[in-house]
């Protein structure tokens, strides 16, 4: 059993946990971990936000049953049965020059992890974060702590209205082309960013989002095409040269389990309602 040392709510949709797990303390930038609250729970991959003396911190955005279950149950017991990691290949940290970080929703967690390392290595950092709504805007102070400029938008206009691609174009118009773009959070947005990078001749490293199951390179559910070659997000990624990723392939394999996810969430919500009823009686 691993202890959850801290659980802090950021917005109604997101919280931070720190897990005590000695094997995570030496994780490299951009790596992730896989957690299961109980041995029967779904295996949830989570980007490492920050390593600590005792383990690592994660940002969890509540999106479906498993993340909701984590949120609810961790209030009852601060224990996690299984923590795998660090997994994936660390981001290649070196001096690229001017780096622009682009994050969507929870993508800000890996972006902060990578951005901090890039800044320590002498890169000049700017950042843009876009949330679906203001509930997906968090950790901006952390981003600011190592970035020269940070801009924040939301797609619903609750903060300044904007989307990733427009914000990126706007950035180029005002500040010129960066030497490197790093983006994370959402395949569709990343693919649009990559389109701009291709047009403008800018290097880009993106985190890809795929389903994951075993996360050790066995099942192939996380497969993608990079330079027409099959790669696995779990052991070869999650960071790839965005220009080489076949985004259509990734997008076509998204939402594989959408119906099931909806069903599982509904079922869990009903269970929570029942539990509430019971405790009222």
């Amino acid at each position: 059993m691993y202890k959850v040392l801290e659980k802090k709510s950021l917005t109604p949709k997101a919280f931070i946990i720190e897990i005590e797990a000695p094997h995570l303390t030496k994780a490299g930038p951009g790596q992730f971990a896989v957690i299961q609250r109980t041995l029967e729970s779904e295996r949830i991959p989570l980007s490492i936000l920050e390593t600590t003396d005792k383990g690592a911190k994660f940002l969890v955005e509540v999106r479906g049953r498993s993340t909701l279950e984590l949120e609810v149950r961790l209030n009852e017991s601060r224990e996690i049965a299984y923590v795998e990691g660090p997994a994936g290949v660390p981001f290649e940290v070196k001096n690229y020059g001017r780096v622009l970080l682009l994050s969507k929703n929870w993508g800000i967690a890996p972006i902060i992890n990578v951005g901090r390392a890039l800044s320590e290595c002498g890169n000049k950092i700017s950042a843009i974060h876009v949330g679906d709504t203001s509930e997906n805007v968090y950790l901006i102070n952390e981003l600011e702590s190592f970035s020269g400029s940070v801009r924040v938008f939301t797609e619903d206009g609750s903060v300044e209205e904007g989307n990733v691609q427009l914000a990126f174009r706007d950035y180029i118009d005002c500040a010129g082309k960066p030497d490197l773009v790093v983006c994370a959070g959402n395949n569709l947005d990343s693919s649009l960013v990559v389109d701009v990078c291709r047009e403008e001749g800018i290097s880009v490293v993106s985190m890809v989002n795929t389903y994951m199951l075993d996360t050790i390179g066995l099942c192939l559910v996380c497969r993608l095409l990079v330079n027409d070659e099959q790669k696995l997000a779990c052991v070869d990624g999650p960071w790839f040269n965005g220009l080489e990723v076949n985004w259509d392939y990734l997008l076509a394999r998204e939402n594989l389990y959408e119906d099931e996810e909806k069903q599982a969430l509904e079922k869990f919500l009903k269970q929570l309602e029942r539990e509430k009823l019971r405790s009222r009686r």
Binding site: H23, Q31, V34, Q36, L39, E40, S41, E42, R43, R65, S66, E69, A81, Y82, V83, E84, G85, P86, A87, G88, V89, L213, D214, T215, I216, G217, L218, C219, L220, V221, R223, L225, Q230, V235, Y249, A252, R253, L256, Y257, D259, E260, E261, Q263, A264, K267
Partner: protein
């Protein structure tokens, strides 16, 4: 009076009816009762030259007449002790070994291995007897003392908790070494846990065996992906020796259309259902979605296990294999079981393309019929396409069960490998890094549970020698 040879009256293990079998994932082979086991044990001739027969046919060389004799004497504890001298997991091997190609295939009642000719009978049900003994001990609660030697102060890391790693850990622990097993997943057992369906191997059995190892002092560390969480070199520095038993579990695809959403590797489907219990979805949180009709490509153990799984999920199940039933590496009786359960098996059928629509959904599997032509290098007749025999098997999902490939992340760039990506070893299981040994599927790319187990136990012997002498003889090259 001379004992009458009972050539043909082989006892069959009782089975669930096919209609019952497909209702769920409980075991369908119910095992011998005491009466059946005693009667079957009495069929054995206790051949003096059994080491040229059944024992030789067994990859781990179980003293077969030895343990069967104990059954006939009513000494089941003795039979168990005899078994675990060589095969530490009799309940598992009795269930999953292809005995017809091993011990039972070389039983004198069925085939005379010394004169190399067919005999007139049916072999002793060695597998079912082995399973009976293992199950009897487990279910009876009799605790068999398995004592470890006094601590040697040496530490060994085992990477991967499949049968090979478990076998190695068991012997090293018994020899008094401190053994730490590093496993990436959240449960031990390897393919036995995430691949083989519970309908063939109840998970309680694996738990029981892991518990035996823990009682011997073996420590398990889950969530460690060697090569990512911790490197092989780091482990090598921290321990006196390392055994690599990471298997060769990476799935394989490879057909036009295999990017479609409804296309899965066998390992993905089996892991979802057997490890994560997706058959209980949504009670269990991990889903599986194969639609209503599934086509499974392949003809080995893995294809059979996928079919067992999809039938129990209630799906119309097609198995597509380019060769014939005789060349399949799965247990022959499994094909009969599958057909009884309603699977449609397309022998001599070569898939050529997965057909799908814009949305990434699978519509069908395009295939071509094959016929047997001239023998190939291995002497088996080569299947050749029948012109004009293209046809489409309509389905919502396609599962590739065409074998696995090496998963090299634990040793990539650090050890000499073969052209298949597996670890290169000498006949002492030594790799190109001193103090690092390897065995199981990680060195032969995919074989059987029992052979992996045998590797683990043999390697433990060489590891023990190395810990004492520090002699290393790997020279590479070959």
């Amino acid at each position: 009076m001379a004992k009458k040879i009972r050539y043909l009256d082989r006892n069959k293990e009782p089975m669930l009816e096919p209609s019952e079998r497909v209702k769920g994932f409980r075991e369908y082979a119910l095992g011998f009762s005491v009466g059946l086991a005693l009667d079957e044990a009495n069929r054995c001739l206790f051949c003096k030259d059994a080491d040229q027969r059944c024992i030789k046919g067994c990859p781990i060389n179980v003293d077969i007449p030895g343990f069967i004799k104990k059954i006939t004497e009513g000494d089941l504890v003795g039979a168990y002790k005899k078994l675990i001298e060589t095969d530490i997991f009799p309940s598992i091997c009795g269930r999953v070994c292809p005995q017809e190609r091993q011990c039972e295939g070389s039983c004198i009642l069925y085939y005379d291995t010394v004169r190399e000719r067919k005999a007139k009978g049916l072999p002793v049900s060695i597998g079912a007897l082995e399973k009976f003994v293992g199950d009897f001990i487990r279910v009876s609660g009799i605790e068999i003392e398995e004592e470890a030697s006094p601590p040697t102060g040496k530490k060994v890391a085992v990477i991967g908790a499949g049968p090979s790693g478990l076998g190695c850990a068991y012997d090293l622990a018994k020899k008094g070494h401190e053994v730490h097993v590093y496993e990436a997943l959240h449960k031990a057992g390897g393919v036995m846990r995430y691949g083989i369906p519970p309908a063939r191997l109840d998970r309680e059995i694996i738990d029981y065996e892991i518990n035996r190892l823990e009682r011997l002092g073996v420590k398990f560390f889950y969530g460690y992906v060697v090569g990512r969480t911790i490197s092989l070199e780091e482990l090598r520095e921290k321990y006196d020796a390392v055994y690599i038993s990471v298997g060769a579990g990476r799935g394989k695809l490879g057909l036009k259309g295999d990017h479609l959403k409804g296309v899965f590797s066998a390992i993905e489907v089996l892991t979802r259902v057997n490890l994560m219990e997706a058959y209980r979805f949504p009670e269990a949180p991990t889903p599986v979605d194969l639609g209503n009709k599934v086509a499974i490509i392949g003809g080995g153990f893995t294809a059979v296990d996928c079919a067992i799984t999809s039938l129990r999920l209630g799906l119309e199940t097609h198995v597509v294999y380019r060769r014939t039933r005789e060349t399949s590496s799965a247990r022959q009786e499994e094909w009969d079981h599958l057909m009884e359960e309603g699977a449609q098996i397309h022998w001599l059928t070569q898939p050529v393309e997965v057909l799908g629509n814009e949305k990434g959904e699978v519509l069908g599997l395009k295939c071509i019929k094959m016929e047997l032509g001239e023998p190939d290098e291995s002497g088996r007749p080569r299947p050749v396409p029948v012109p004009g025999s293209e046809h489409v098997i309509e389905c919502d999902s396609v599962i590739f069960a065409i074998g696995q490939q090496a998963n090299p992340i634990a040793y990539q760039g650090l050890l000499e490998i073969t052209k298949w990506g597996t670890v290169k070893v000498n006949d002492r299981y030594e790799t190109s890094m001193e103090g690092v040994f390897a065995g199981g599927d990680a060195i032969n790319g995919g074989d059987t549970v029992v052979r992996s187990l045998a590797h683990g136990r043999e390697a433990a012997k060489f590891i023990d020698e190395y810990l004492k002498t520090k002699k290393w003889s790997f020279t590479g090259g070959s």
